[in-house]
Symmetry: C2
């Protein structure tokens, strides 16, 4: 047993003992070094952040392989956290304080010992960057004060189209508008002058994106888009009395009494603190983790290879008194490769999708010469996205068709000008047909995906969004999502998500009363690459098998598939429920458009009246379709 002195910066001067426990296994194995956090903590430690920071630095220096926590409740504040300028795809960029900065690690396991990690204010729990073989396990993540406003509807006034809410989270009313406030350190300076800065620093955020939650189902309310909206609206309010706010609604319907008004604040200032941020890393294991809240996505991984999530749950804390877990997607994977495996996990009550796997198209801004183009990122959540490095393979696709315009191109040089514009030099000549706005897709960073034995419910938005040309298997999951249970798409519109599929197996899943959110086209399984819809369009997605799934559902829209070459829908059972009134009354169960080589067979439909039949099908512009269904 070795003893070394650790000099902690932020506890009272004391010499702490680092226990390096060295186990020797059989003779061939190297020693495993373990570090016990117990040796670093006074019993009265209030803020673990500086201690963890210091311990991680030492662990890296000493090649420690495991850090273990004794079971307990630990608090993390941003005050003494290290910060990093983070450019995080699909989240907000900026300086972020980090509780566990795991940068440049090679082989580290952090075992929380079933502890609760409680975070306070603007801090990112885990940042994993340039690291390999990182394992996190056995802990929960929560915040003392959420990054959002929650309030129960306690009164309605239909004449004025207003409703009153009783607010359970910190808030402020100023100039006739409502702000939700996050936790911050109330220093002397903050007390005296902080009010001048809170709004601009996103400590108090104007309520923006809103949704109504149903306390009976603990899910977004049926047809929520009639009474709330994710598009930004500046709401006018009056403070009736402390804690009770009257909101003058700009939406057509008022939310019912006892429903929950929820808002996560202004767009582009409400994805500040993801739970776990992974980038440029490899071989990551996340196991037995409960993430009860995050002020952005639960997990966002970028340009990383081989990620396994096992019993990684984004869900409400039991008896936590809240309605929402992560304020954005539970998990999100951009430009990853190798294998993404998610199993035995629960994703509930998020404000966005459960799993989203995709690449991002850059957009051609200028063709400089036969070897070079300048590209631009478009959506602000893609600013400074690391698109590609020298030696990687990309191709260019048409802005309206999403069809390849070039063969594979090899990146010879990448010259970043600024957070939006980058110059790419290709080894090959590029064609003269390339137009401004065409997409550039990275083919090197595309993962295979295995999703099995997961359960999704009570979230806003979708279950699985899957865009990757590598093998995808979705098996034995239970999905009860507000929008599509599974969506396969790509676009050169708002989000510019890339990754046409080629090999998808969706089998033995149960979908239960999905697409109850209303608003726009929906389907339990939605395959809708955003291509200009003309008869000469080529197909886009390929090789999708949907078999032996069960769809228990109140609505008609089960599978909607556009521009697919090779689609098999077989052995599925649709069981009608009466959970909600139907929204897509006129729709057939299966809607096929612009596709070819489609096989539909052996599917069953069991309506409420008990008369078993075949699902209904509508087809448009499709060729070579075999089906055994009612048209």
């Amino acid at each position: 047993m070795a003893r070394i002195n650790i000099h902690l910066p932020l506890t009272k001067p004391t010499i702490l003992i680092l226990s390096l426990i060295t186990f020797f296994g059989c003779e061939q194995q190297s020693p495993i070094t373990i570090l016990n956090m117990e040796d670093f903590m006074d019993s009265n430690v209030k803020d673990l952040t500086p201690i963890v920071t210091e311990v991680l630095e030492k662990a890296k220096d000493q090649n420690v392989e495991r850090i273990v926590f004794p079971k307990g409740v630990y608090h993390f504040y941003p005050t003494y956290a290290r910060d990093f300028y983070c450019t995080i795809s699909n989240n907000d960029n900026g300086k972020r304080r980090v509780a566990f900065p795991l940068l440049d690690f090679s082989g580290i396991e952090i075992d929380g010992g079933d502890s609760e990690f409680i975070f306070h204010g603007r801090i990112v729990p885990f940042l994993i960057k340039n690291s390999t073989q990182v394992s996190l396990k056995n802990f929960s993540i929560d915040w003392k004060v959420p990054f959002a406003l929650e309030g129960e509807v306690v009164a309605r006034n239909e004449e004025k189209n207003s409703f009153d809410i009783s607010i359970s989270t910190p808030y402020k009313v100023a100039d006739g508008h409502l702000y939700h406030c996050i936790e911050y350190e109330n220093s002397e300076y903050e007390k005296e002058f902080g009010h001048k800065f809170r709004r601009a620093q996103s400590v108090c955020n104007l309520i923006g994106q809103n949704i109504i939650w149903d306390p009976k189902t603990m899910a977004p309310i049926f047809n929520s888009e009639a009474m709330s909206g994710l598009l930004y609206k500046l709401l006018s309010v009056e403070e009736i009395k402390p804690g009770v706010i009257r909101i003058f609604s700009p939406y057509p319907e008022l939310p019912p009494i006892s429903s929950i008004f929820y808002s996560k604040g202004e767009y582009l200032a409400n994805r500040l603190c993801p739970g776990i941020r992974v980038t440029e890393s490899k071989d990551l294991q996340l196991q037995n983790i409960d993430l009860y809240h995050a002020g952005a996505m639960g997990l966002i991984a970028e340009r990383s290879e081989n990620i396994t999530l096992d019993n990684f749950n984004v869900k409400l804390k039991p008896e936590g008194g809240r309605f929402v877990s992560s304020t954005a997607d539970a998990t999100h994977f951009v430009h990853c490769k190798g294998e993404i495996v998610i199993r035995n996990s629960t994703f509930e009550n998020m404000m966005d999708d459960a799993v989203n796997v995709h690449g991002i198209y850059m957009r051609v801004k200028k063709v400089l010469d036969e070897h070079r183009i300048a590209f631009e990122t478009n959506h602000p959540h893609q600013n400074d996205l690391l698109f590609g490095k020298k030696g990687e393979t990309v191709r260019i696709v048409g802005k309206h068709t999403l069809q390849p315009k070039t063969e594979k191109l090899s990146l010879k040089n990448v010259n970043r000008l600024n957070e939006r514009v980058v110059i790419l030099t290709f080894e090959e000549h590029i064609k003269e047909t390339i137009e401004i706005g065409d997409g550039i897709e990275n083919l090197t960073w595309t993962p295979s995906v295995l999703l099995e034995n997961n359960s999704i419910k009570n979230n806003r938005a979708r279950g699985f969004l899957l865009s990757t040309p590598k093998k995808i298997v979705v098996r034995n999951n239970h999905l009860a999502t507000q929008k599509a249970g599974i969506r396969i798409t790509s676009d050169l519109k708002l989000w510019n998500e890339s990754g046409a599929v080629t090999d998808v197996l969706i089998e033995n899943n149960t979908f239960e009363d999905c697409v109850f959110g209303g608003g726009g086209k929906q389907s339990v399984i939605l395959i809708d690459p955003e291509i200009h819809s003309s008869s000469d369009c080529k197909t886009f997605e390929k090789g999708i098998v949907i078999r032996n799934n069960t769809f228990k559902t109140f609505d008609n829209a089960i599978i909607s598939a556009s521009f697919v070459d090779g689609l098999e829908i077989a052995g599925n059972t649709i069981i009608e429920t009466d959970t909600y009134p139907k929204i897509a009354k006129q729709q057939q169960h299966f809607k096929i458009e612009g596709s070819k080589n489609v096989t539909i067979q052996d599917n069953q439909y069991r309506p409420l009246n008990g008369y078993q039949t075949k699902p209904t099908i509508t087809e448009k512009n499709s060729i070579n379709t075999t089906s055994s269904s009612n048209h």
Copy 2:
């Protein structure tokens, strides 16, 4: 004459010729290499930014000593500009596109050849960092669209306390509020989706800090604080017709017809683009430069040594149709050293001070042990301020008294945790009397200052703010400022500006109708370190001589001095004017408090009635005062 090929990234494929003109002087001199921009520009070039970026890179590689522009009008857009994460004291931090990135240069002169440089949208014209012997000369800086809203008052409604403005700058009305919009590239994506992002990206800013401008005087209106305010207010508005907006005023008085309503947008989002940003550089010359606008300060220099401004003017463009030049201070110097010389310069119509020289106190956050403290920056405009490096000298002062609590301390180590908290290790023991909130002052980075033959008028706020222990000479200037002409202060309050003076000579200046802005304590010369006012306070400032100045003024408050040891007020002439009604009617001309070793003699007061007399004096808690005046 050497010819090299330059491969510009963003012009059509072409080989441009770089003329390296090499002059040989007398035999001892090295050759001077000159580069003419003419050789890099097509006549139809629209955006000079990428060309300048490339030329500067080549110039650095080739040790070019001068870059000259043929006289012309040149435009700079941010689209292809390089960006840098800039942490700029007293301005807003963040990624900034830069037109002239002068990083790591040693000996470079840029001669604009009397050209006009026109900037478009969010771009910083000059960034000078880690460079020595940089000279900029002979050009003007302006923006096509200003970072602010200007509108003429065309109607008033006293019952509703509203007024209507006719707006001459881009704006937007949404949800009952008014936004000013800056110039941005209207790409296809921007046209389709940009409206979702403009507000969050500060492309359209809610109007915030407001002031009324007087078109007759071209200055802030008399007593402007009665009808507008720099404190943030979210104003309710109605669009009466395109270009005409009704503002429901929260202020006690309505602005008069034909006056100008001016707003620079939300606090902490309205200091984005200073004109020239200098940091960690040495030996800088700025000569014959007209800066007609900046979306922040005109010049902000930090941790730099020896800066000379000669005929450096921040003022309105003749016939430009605007009322405001820079939206913040004309020039600002934080933690500089060596000599700051400003002469023959004009500072007009800024939204803040003409010249501000100071250090910044960090605040003690935690005493870690006898050698270490953690400090915190407080004001958000000081986030990530580079306070000090190893080997520099600092001291700690009391938070209420501003008096030193330690001898000089030498920095042994500086460990940045995040943008606000840094751990300092001192060579010396520090005393146990140090308290949370005490100030830490950097004594290494303090400059001497020479200000002569400058003219200041029509700006909001003050003329010269001077806080440095080195020699200060203010001579032969003309000051006609809305607040104090000269202010000497330090505080551990909102701004935490440091630098007690020890040697100040203010002579032969003319002050004309200063302090016409109203609001709070004012004086033409204001010496007011913000110390808790108790009788046992020690003095703070030292060695101030104010002699042979002329004060032409409508008001009474001429010199107000607190906590000075060694103050001479001699040979000054006060000439009463009737330009405005008096604001400080009850005040004596000279107000001395908590000071010692004060000499007041040979000053004259010439009131409007023509009866020549001595200025009046009021004294409080002062000792050893010699005066030859009327008490």
